[in-house]
Amino acid sequence: MTFPGVPLGDQFSHPTLQGDASMHAAVDVRLNQLRTAGLNVGVGLTTFRAAQRAAAGLISGVAIFFDTLIESTGSGSYNSSNGVFTIGNSGLYLIQFQLRQATAIAFTAALGGAPAIYSTNLLRSAVCQAAAGHGPTIPAVPIWCLGGEQLTVVPTFGGSVTLPAAATNDAHWFSIAQVA
């Protein structure tokens, strides 16, 4: 966002007469900067989605390594070896995830990392129904993130949970979309 980086001061001073060059700099250039800034609102926002396609055993308290990057645009980066998505540009993000289990075990999943307020309150899903095919899910939640903050999905169940392979239907996924 540049219009301009610092607030405008008084560009017109007495007794300097306003010539075409100074009027161009003070009006035309500024209007064009404003137009450019307006046209760029919403441009370059970050989107990210990763899926877990191979069968995987979950460990309570350890981030899920979603093994397949589906899409990643804008800023930010994802490390599939530890399941960490690192925020690039600060802004408002919608964050959502879904898991589907193979075994009849009730467990929950939390948003790990992230701004401290959410970690402190352990923002997480309700416990899923203990039946195969069910799993913890968080609907899209709006969260302000700063550049460099790291987001993960962490199961918070002390037992053994297996995610079945989902090579074709992407039943287990982690999605982040910047909206502002």
Binding site: F3, L8, S13, T16, Q33, L34, L92, A140, V141, A180
Partner: protein, 180 residues
């Protein structure tokens, strides 16, 4: 449209035929409106209102069809006066609700509107989530966009009484997405 946007048609603020030009008028009619518009572009996202509330585990019970009182964790616009959230500004908002039931009940959740004076409910519970599966520690969840007026007041209700399941499982987000 937000009242922060300068109105170019304010009487006596614009040029008239034959009017002498001076640097003060140039500043007032060019610098100031341009800076106001630039300031809006620089800050519009940062001014979006955010609310995040939680329920602590151990709350004896939440009654069915009763406005839920939340512990405000984030309230950037100061819009929350339990149990109602009143937006500071009209616009499109995103609502996200998750309820972790500690008991085996099946119920849905949604928001209700009150009058601006927090009077009786004026709308039914709509939109509603689907029911939780009726097993202990599960619960309903929903995310949806809704247009709110500045004098709307909204609260969360559920259709079944419940005990809070565990820390982090009951939360309510209200996030402003647009102005006006």
């Amino acid at each position: 449209m937000s009242s922060r946007v300068p109105n170019p048609l304010i009487p006596a603020s614009q040029w008239t035929d034959g009017e002498p030009m001076d640097e003060l008028k140039l500043h007032e009619r060019v610098d100031v409106p341009l800076e106001t518009l630039g300031g809006i572009l620089r800050t519009m996202n940062g001014d979006l209102a955010s609310f995040y509330g939680t329920l602590a585990p151990g709350i004896p019970s939440v009654s069915a069809n009763t406005n839920i009182s939340w512990t405000a964790q984030i309230d950037t616009a100061g819009g929350y006066v339990a149990p109602f959230y009143t937006p500071d500004t009209s616009g499109l908002y995103l609502i996200a609700i998750n309820l972790g039931y500690g008991t085996a009940v099946a119920g849905s959740c949604g928001i209700v509107r009150a009058t601006a004076t927090h009077g009786p409910q004026t709308d039914p519970q709509a939109p509603l989530s689907h029911d939780g599966p009726g097993v202990a520690n599960s619960g309903p969840r929903i995310t949806f966009p809704i247009y709110l007026n500045a004098d709307d007041s909204i609260a969360v209700q559920c259709t079944a009484g419940f005990n809070v399941s565990a820390i982090g499982t009951c939360w309510w987000f209200v996030q402003q997405l647009t102005w006006g």
